[in-house]
Structures are given as structure tokens and as C-alpha cells.
Amino acid sequence: MSVHEPESMRPAGPERRGGGFSAAARAELDEIRKRYPTTEACMLPALHIAQREWGGWLPDEAIEAVAAELDMPSAKVYGVVTFYDLYHQKPVGRHRIRVCTNLSCQLRGSEEIMETLAAELGVGEDEVTRDGNCSYVHFECLGSCDTAPMMMVDDEYHENLTPNRVRQILKGLK
């Protein structure tokens, strides 16, 4: 992460709280365990839960917590985390914006969407705004090429974007 302001280094989500999975998260994971013949197969679901628990990213203690839940070496968990784009190893904004910039969106103006985000948020790609509210990245095809250009804000698809529409969406992200 490029450090432009010291404040932006703090985790955007809840403060580090120590300890492992919460009781609710553990109960959720226990339900998931029943689906698979091996414990290791719970890895991706467990990491999804952990990332939610730790405010949108996976600090070392989250990785260690998953390793403890699944009774596996943390190096193995770490190896999985680094493979997948949806797991974050550094703080992200409270709202995570992913802009599709693959060919179909590029052909319909996704670069102007990226420019708008840079201008409006005042930070570079993959940096967190000072108030911790937003971070944005370009992303590979999100499977919404018929409504290009598009971006994903948290779990929500926003389609047929224009720079003005992007500005409106940003205003709604508090």
C-alpha cells in the first residue's frame, strides 16, 4: 500500500480485537463443516467468514484464527489467501469498489470510470480514503458485459455507469 497519509494505515473495519472466531462465526463454520468430507475443504468458506469478522481484510491474526479452527499450519492458510483476488491482505475501505476494466467494459468507457473515481476520491488505486470510507481497484471481468461499464460496490452491481452516476453512487456511500 502506498502511504500518503498516516491515518490511512489504520484498519477500516473494527479495531483489532484479539482472540479467534466469535461464537456466531464458529457456529456458522460448524454448519459448513457438515457439507464436506474433509476439514480442509472448509478453507474458502472459513476465510470468507474471517474476512467479514475482521472488517474486510485478513490480518495475520485472522489467518492464524482460521488455521486454528481448521487445525492446519498457518503457512498453508496464507498460501491460499495469496492465491485469490477476493481475499485482502491489507486494510480496505469500509466500502470496496471494484471496477471491471476488461475488454467489454474497456470498449464502453471503463477508463473514464476509473478516472472519475480517482478524481472524486482523491486517492490512487488500492489506497484507502482518509476517512476510511472507500477504496477502489480495477478488476477482471465481473460477468456484466451487457451493462458495461460497470462496477461492484461491496456486494452490489452498479451497471450502465456514467461519470455522473458514479458521483451519485459515491455520495450514497457513507
Binding site: 485469490y84 468507457g109 471481468c141
Partner: protein, 434 residues
């Protein structure tokens, strides 16, 4: 062309189909009931007879794939087998499976259940890409309803056949759409493809025989059971290219979207159906089957969009994701964007793919930025030769598709970039007001 009655997308625009009751009112789960009354082998035979080929990209005969699954020898100790439904739709330009899952989840569940009965698998995982959160929650709800309605669980529709079905979310990796990469990922590992053989039909998920089929492939299955293999074979170009097909059209067309046609519709008809070229500009090129498919020039406009015809035209049908480009498009820039994608998504396991995709991106970017040399076209072909056939999975071969076709079919554009020491295409602005 004559009006075509939609099959796979017949429930799109009918919100009642999202509920079990609504789906059943439209004849849903009748195909599953019919299959359960048949011998599992007879179900496989029917699918074989239909000529259904995989809709994920490779076009492998679905019934044949099912027939590779070994049978349990001892009735009291049945072999553990799996179905993994490939819902990791990540091929750039492809968005058809998302539509099927978001608008008609029970159609997919029914197709999966019929496949499980046919190969006698008691567990099905629907591996859905992590970004598809909406489709995943719609599927979760539909599965819950199906369990409660006796469609899934200890006795599928009262037949005594036990079947569990789960949604498994990925976490953002194109390579997990490759079938053995998907199995690794399902097992909780990095999604690096396996050495084949053994093929998944023999050693698949958790070391057990496994069928892996694409969402659209499985969605065809209930209709084959209900209406018969002969009906299915009657749709399409010939006996090797049968059935209805979804085409996802994007890029420079007036009405991008998912369109259903008999397989083998011409690209010209597809384009007309999508409202023609954006703002009436001339067609320059199109990619007929997603990012992995070699780009075709406008003179191929009358190609029939089926597996064999597109292959004959010098590309591949792939996932039938059609990306259309008009005369303002810089082909070098387009190829550079796709090269960047493959470089990012190469899993890093095989050196030719890991290093080669990186070099392709670097060389294409340098040409685009006006820093290319006269030898760069040949250099790109040399990199392609060193990747092709040199990696464990198809990603390497896929990555060279757009690059090799650029050099083969648009070499004059590369030369122009090198000669002018700049991209000859002005940067296109799409939005006037800032």
C-alpha cells in the same frame, strides 16, 4: 430467421419461477420425476442421443462424460461420487450463466439432480465464482426451498434416492473455472490445475469419481428428458451441433445482452438481433467465444455460431461470449488488455505460461505505447509457440488465442504502431459531460 421458442430462458422475466411453487406450476421438476422412474443408464443414453455438448467452452459430449463415471460394483457399498457444477463463469465477455442462476435457479437444480441420478452421485457442489453474491444467495434460497419441498435430501421426490446439494463460493480466480483447478479450490487449496490423467471421472473431488459440467449444460438436461433427445437433435446445425444456445453479446452493439437461439445461428443474425452496430458504425472485428477465442475479421460475419463452424473459421465457440468491435477500436490495445488478463490469471505453476503471458503483455503494451520494434510481431509469435501445448491446462493455449490472431490477422495495425511510434487510434471518449 423464424421465431424461436425460448427454452433455457423461458422463465426470464417471470419472477414467480424463483419460488418452488411457481417453478412447478410451469412444469418444473417433472423431468426429474421422469428421470427417477427411469434406469440411470437410460438417462445417460438419452443425453448421449441428444448430442448435447458442454456449454462451458470445450464442447465435450455431456452424455459421454457421464458414461465415464464408474459404476458401483457392490450395491451395499456404493462408490462415493460427486457432481460439481461449474458456475465459476469468468471468461471475459461471458455472463449467460449468471442470468440462468439469477432468473431460474430451480432449472439448474433440476438439471443437477438429474445428472446425479444418472451417475448415482449423492452429493453435488455448485462452485460459483465469489463475485456472484446475488446469484449465490438466490441459489441458496432455492436449495432451501427444494430441501423443504422434498426435492432434495434423504429421498428425492419420494424415490428413496439420497442427494445433497450445496453452493460453494470461490474467491476470485479465473483458473478455478478449469475443471481440476476447480477441484483443488473446492478441496480448500490454491486453484492450481492437476496433471491429467487421471481425469476427474476417475479421480476427481476428494479422490472420487466426479462429473464437472457447466451451468448452461446442466440447464439443458431437464428439457432433454421432458421433450426427448429427438426434439433436441432437431434444433441446430447438424447432428454434432444440437440444441438451444445462449449467446452473450457485448461491446459495440446497440443492445448488448444474452440471446437464445438454435445453435448455429449466424453471427450476422446475432448482430441484427442485438440491434446492429453501436451508432451504426462499421464492424471491424469480433471475438466469437470469449477472451480465449482468436479474433475474427468482419469478413467472417456469416459464420455459423456452432462449435465446428467457428473452429473452421479459425476461432472457437468457447463460451459463446461474443465481443463486437467497431472501426474505432485499436486491435493492439484490445489484445494488450486480454494479455494483461491472462498474465494476471496464470496460476504460475507452469513456466511457459507464467513467464510467457507476462512477456506477451509487456510486448503488446510497448507496441501500443509506440515503443515497439519491427521484430515485435515475430517475437509475439515466438512467445506463442513457446507457450502453446507446454502447460498442464488450457490457460496457456487460451492466452495465445487473442495474440496470435492479432499478429496473423491485423499485422498491418502492429506495423502502423511501430512506424508512427504511436497508437494511430485517438482515445475514444464515451461520456461528454464531466
Amino acid at each position: 430467421m423464424a421465431a424461436f421458442e425460448r427454452v433455457l430462458t423461458r422463465n426470464v422475466g417471470k419472477p414467480e419461477a424463483l419460488t418452488l411453487k411457481g417453478y412447478r406450476q410451469g412444469g418444473g421438476y417433472e423431468a426429474l420425476a421422469k428421470a427417477l422412474a427411469m434406469d440411470p443408464d437410460a438417462v445417460i443414453e438419452e443425453v448421449k442421443k441428444s448430442g448435447l455438448r458442454g456449454r462451458g467452452g470445450a464442447g465435450f459430449a455431456a452424455g459421454l462424460k457421464w458414461s465415464f463415471i464408474p459404476k458401483s460394483k457392490d450395491k451395499d457399498k456404493p462408490l462415493t461420487k460427486y457432481l460439481v457444477c461449474n458456475a465459476d463463469e469468468s471468461e471475459p465477455g461471458t455472463f449467460k450463466d449468471r442470468l440462468l442462476m439469477e432468473y431460474d435457479p430451480h432449472q439448474l437444480i433440476e438439471g443437477c439432480a438429474i445428472c446425479c441420478w444418472a451417475v448415482q452421485a449423492a452429493t453435488c457442489y455448485i462452485y460459483i465464482r465469489g463475485e456472484y453474491t446475488k446469484a449465490a444467495s438466490i441459489l441458496e434460497q432455492a436449495l432451501k426451498d427444494a430441501y423443504e419441498g422434498g426435492i432434495l435430501g434423504d429421498s428425492v421426490m419420494g424415490s428413496g434416492f439420497k442427494l445433497n446439494m450445496y453452493v460453494h463460493r470461490g474467491a476470485g480466480a479465473y483458473i478455478c473455472g478449469e475443471e481440476t483447478g476447480m477441484l483443488e479450490s473446492l478441496e480448500g487449496k490454491r486453484g492450481q490445475p492437476r496433471v491429467k490423467p487421471p481425469f476427474p471421472a476417475v479421480v476427481g473431488a476428494f479422490g472420487q469419481p466426479t462429473v464437472i459440467n457447466n451451468v448452461e449444460t446442466l440447464c439443458n438436461v431437464p428439457h432433454i428428458l421432458t421433450r426427448g433427445a429427438d426434439w433436441f437433435k432437431g434444433i441446430g446445425t447438424d447432428e454434432k451441433n444440437t440444441g438451444p444456445k445462449l449467446y452473450a453479446i457485448s461491446g459495440h452493439v446497440e443492445r448488448p445482452g444474452t440471446y437464445e437461439y438454435p445453435i448455429g445461428v449466424t453471427f450476422r443474425e446475432l448482430l441484427e438481433g442485438a440491434g446492429g452496430m453501436l451508432k451504426g458504425r462499421p464492424l471491424k472485428a469480433f471475438i466469437p467465444g470469449g477472451a480465449s477465442a482468436p479474433v475474427l475479421k468482419a469478413d467472417m460475419i456469416d459464420v455459423k455460431m456452432d462449435f465446428d463452424s467457428v473452429a473452421k473459421a479459425g476461432s472457437m465457440l468457447g463460451s459463446a461470449a461474443v465481443i463486437v468491435m467497431d472501426d474505432t477500436t485499436c486491435m493492439v490495445r484490445s489484445a494488450a488488455r486480454l494479455a494483461k488478463f491472462f498474465n494476471h490469471e496464470s496460476c504460475g505453476q507452469c513456466t511457459p505460461c507464467r513467464e510467457g503471458t507476462n512477456w506477451m503483455e509487456l510486448v503488446l503494451k510497448r507496441i501500443e505505447h509506440g515503443e515497439g520494434s519491427e521484430r515485435d510481431g515475430q517475437l509475439l509469435l515466438s512467445i506463442c509457440r513457446n507457450i502453446g501445448g507446454q502447460s498442464l491446462c488450457a490457460l496457456g493455449d487460451a492466452a495465445i488465442g487473442p495474440v496470435k490472431s492479432l499478429v496473423d490477422r491485423f499485422s498491418e495495425e502492429i506495423e502502423q504502431h511501430v512506424r508512427d511510434r504511436a497508437c494511430p487510434f485517438p482515445k475514444r471518449r464515451f461520456f461528454d459531460s464531466n
